[in-house]
Amino acid sequence: MLKELFYYLIYPGFLFVAVAGGFLSFFDRKITAWVQFRKGPPLLQPFYDFFKLLLVKETILPAKGSKITFLLAPVFGLFGATVSSVLILLPLLGIKTGFTGDVIVIFYLLTIPSLTYIIGALASGNPLAAIGASREMKLILSYELSFLLMLIAIIIKGGMSISLYDIINAQNTGNAFIGSISGVILFIVSMFCLQAKLGLVPFDMAEAETEITHGLFIEYSGTPYAIIKLTKYIMLFTLPAFIIALFMKGFNLTGIGILWTILKVLAVVLILTLIRNTNPRVRIGQAMRFFFIWMNLLAIIAIVLIFLGY
C-alpha cells in the first residue's frame, strides 16, 4: 500500500513527472527563443509561472456558468495525466506491474486531459471558449484514430502483446522499432499525433491566442489555471516517454544509460519544438483532412509493411 502511494505520488508519479515536465517546458521555450534569435527565459521560469498562478493570483468564477464543473474539470485532467504517466513510467523503469493490457488503458487515460479541457471550457459559458471546445472535439475525433492505428501497428510488431512491458522487452531482445521502414513511418505518424495531443502550433486552433484568445482556457485564472499548466507540463513529459517506450527501447537507468535516456527525451521534445516553430496554424478542416487521409494512410501502409516483414 505504502509502496503504491510512493509510486503514484513521488517517484515515477506526480512529483517526478511534474518537475521533469517543468524542465522540458523550459527546454521547449528556450529552443523556441534560440530559433527566433532571442535569449529566452531563465531556467526555473515554468516553476515561477506555476507558483505565481497557484499562490498569488485571484481565482475568478464565471457568473453564468456551472462553477463546480468549471473548478473540478482541471483537477480531473491532472488525475488523468498523473495516472497515465505512472502507468507509462513503471514499465519504462523496469518495474513489472501486475496487469497486461495496460497499453489500452493508457490510450484511454491519455485522452482524459483533452476531454476535461472541453468540459471546463463549456462550463465557463464563454462563447470563445465554446468555439475552442468545438475545435478541440473535432481535433480529438481526427487524431485519435491515427493514434490508435499507430498503437495497433506497434502491438502487431511487438508480437501481438498488449503489455507495454512486453513491447519494451521485445525491442531489448531484438532491434528498436524505429530501426525499420515501418517503424520510421509510424514514428512520423506518432509525432504529428503528439503535436495535436499537446496542442502545439500546427494544431493549436483550440487555444489560438491570436484569434480566440486562448480559447479553451480563456476564463481560467489563478489556481485552476495553475493546475492546467501543471497538466500541460506533465503531458509534455509523459507523451515523449510513451513514444520512447514504443519506438526506442525505453529507458535504461544504469551508468552511461542515464545520459542516453535524457538525450532520447530531449530529442523527441526537440523534434516537437522544431515542428512547432516552423509551421503556421492550420484550419480545423485542414487538420481533419490531414489526419483522416494522410496520417491514417501512412499508418495502414506501415501495418501492411509489418505483415510483409519490413
Partner: protein
C-alpha cells in the same frame, strides 16, 4: 522579499490595451518582444486573455467609449494587477488632453503603478520602466 512576491516578479504576463492610439506606442510595445529587446528574458509573456494577465499595459488617449471598456477590463482582471500607462497620451493625455471626446488620462480612471512617458517611448525606455517596476 517573500517567496510569493519573488515568483510574481519573476513571471509577469502582459495584456495590452490600446485606446484611441495613433499606433506608434503599440508598435514600440511589440518591439519589446522582438529578438533585439526580448522581454521574455525577464519571464514576461504577452497573453491574449485578461484573466491570465498580471500587467495591464495601457496606451493611447482614452476617449469616452474606451473608458467604459477599460473599467470593465480592470474589473475582470484577477488581482493583484499592475497598471502601466505608456506614452504621452496614456500618462497625461498629450495633444488630445483638450479634446472633446477625451475622458481623462488613465490615472483618473484606474490606479496606475508606473508611467512611461515619450511620444512614442523607445523600447529602451519601456525596458527601463519595467526594470524600475521590478525593483520597486
Amino acid at each position: 522579499m517573500g517567496f510569493k512576491e519573488f515568483c510574481f516578479k519573476k513571471s509577469l504576463f502582459l495584456f495590452h490595451f490600446g485606446g484611441a492610439s495613433c499606433n506608434n506606442c503599440d508598435i514600440e510595445i511589440l518591439d519589446c518582444l522582438t529578438p533585439r529587446y526580448d522581454v521574455e528574458r525577464f519571464g514576461m509573456q504577452l497573453v491574449g486573455s485578461i484573466r491570465h494577465a498580471d500587467v495591464l499595459l495601457v496606451n493611447g488617449s482614452i476617449n469616452r467609449k474606451d473608458k467604459v471598456r477599460l473599467l470593465e477590463l480592470y474589473e475582470q482582471a484577477p488581482k493583484p494587477i499592475i497598471v502601466v500607462a505608456i506614452g504621452a497620451c496614456g500618462c497625461t493625455g498629450g495633444i488630445f488632453a483638450e479634446g472633446n471626446t477625451f475622458a481623462g488620462p488613465v490615472d483618473k480612471i484606474i490606479p496606475v503603478d508606473a508611467y512611461i512617458p515619450g511620444c512614442p517611448p523607445k523600447p529602451e525606455a519601456i525596458l527601463a520602466g519595467i526594470v524600475k517596476l521590478l525593483k520597486k
